[in-house]
C-alpha cells in the first residue's frame, strides 16, 4: 500500500455532522451552484442555466451529449495510440541490434479504415455477387430456352 493513500478504514462511512450542519436553504444554493459548474463544463451558458424555464429533458440531453463527446475523445486517444504503435513497429527493424541491414519498414500507406467503411464494402460486394448470380441464372435459363426453341425449329424443318 502506497504512503498517503486512503484506505477503506480511514474514510468515514457516514459523516452525520457534515450534512446536518449546513442549513437546507444553503444546501439548495450549493446544489444549484454545483449544477451550474457541471452544466457549464458540458457547454451550457451561465445565462441559459439560471434563467431558462425548468426543463429536465434539456439537462438530460446536455449530459448525454457530453457522454458521447467523452466517448469520442476516448476513441481518438485510443486511435492515436494505435498509430504510434504502428509507427514504432515500423521503426523497430532499423534500430534492432545485430541487424546487418537496418532499414525501417514504410509507415502505413493510408489511414485505418473505419469499421463501418469495411462493413459497407463487404455489403456492396455481397450485393454485387447476388446480382451477378441472379443475372447468370437468368442468362442460363434464357439461353437454354432459346437453344430448346432452335432445336425444335430445326427438328420441325427436318420433318417437313
Amino acid at each position: 500500500m502506497g504512503a498517503g493513500r486512503l484506505t477503506v478504514d480511514t474514510v468515514p462511512f457516514f459523516d452525520d455532522n457534515q450534512e446536518d450542519s449546513v442549513p437546507e436553504n444553503e444546501q439548495i444554493i450549493n446544489l444549484l451552484n454545483d449544477g451550474c459548474e457541471q452544466m457549464m463544463a458540458m457547454g451550457m451558458t451561465y445565462e441559459d442555466y439560471w434563467t431558462s424555464p425548468s426543463d429536465p429533458d434539456k439537462i438530460k440531453i446536455y449530459r448525454n451529449v457530453y457522454k458521447r463527446k467523452m466517448q469520442d475523445l476516448n476513441h481518438q486517444a485510443w486511435l492515436q495510440g494505435a498509430y504510434v504503435y504502428e509507427a514504432v513497429g515500423a521503426l523497430v527493424p532499423a534500430i534492432q541490434a545485430f541487424n546487418k541491414k537496418p532499414k525501417a519498414e514504410p509507415y502505413l500507406s493510408k489511414p485505418f479504415e473505419f469499421e463501418s467503411d469495411v462493413k459497407d464494402k463487404e455489403r456492396i460486394a455481397k450485393e454485387q455477387e447476388t446480382v451477378f448470380k441472379q443475372f447468370s441464372a437468368f442468362a442460363e435459363s434464357f439461353n437454354a430456352k432459346r437453344k430448346q426453341k432452335q432445336t425444335e425449329v430445326v427438328d420441325n424443318d427436318r420433318q417437313q
Binding site: P53, S54, K60, R63
Partner: protein, 108 residues
C-alpha cells in the same frame, strides 16, 4: 415542461414561474421547507412573491399582497407553488441514459 401559473388581475395577465435563479434568490433569503413547516405565515408570502421574479420583476409588494389576498383556493395554490419551486432543483437529479442493466423474461 415547467409548471406555470397564469391569471388576470386588474386587466393585466400574470405568469408565475420559477427558474434556478429565482430558487437561488429565495433560498438566499432564507426560504426552505424547514421554514415552511416552522413559520408558514412568513414562508408562504415569500414563496408567492418569489414566483413573480421570473416574469414580473417590477411589480410592487403592495400589488403582490393584493393579488395574494384575492387568490382563491389557497391550499391548491400553495401546493402548486411548492411544486414550481422544486422543479428547477429536480432538473438536476436526472441521470444520463444508460444501457439497461436488467433483462427480464416472462415466466408462465
Amino acid at each position: 415542461m415547467a409548471t406555470r401559473l397564469k391569471f388576470n388581475y386588474a386587466g393585466k395577465e400574470y405568469t408565475l414561474e420559477y427558474n434556478k435563479e429565482q430558487v437561488k434568490r429565495l433560498s438566499a433569503q432564507g426560504f426552505s421547507q424547514e421554514l415552511m413547516s416552522a413559520r408558514p405565515l412568513d414562508a408562504i408570502p415569500m414563496l408567492f412573491k418569489g414566483a413573480f421574479g421570473m416574469h414580473h420583476k417590477n411589480v410592487s409588494n403592495k400589488v403582490i399582497e393584493e393579488i395574494y389576498d384575492n387568490m382563491g383556493d389557497k391550499t391548491a395554490l400553495i401546493e402548486m407553488l411548492i411544486k414550481m419551486f422544486a422543479e428547477p432543483i429536480e432538473d438536476l437529479m436526472v441521470e444520463p441514459e444508460e444501457a439497461s442493466k436488467i433483462t427480464w423474461e416472462q415466466v408462465d
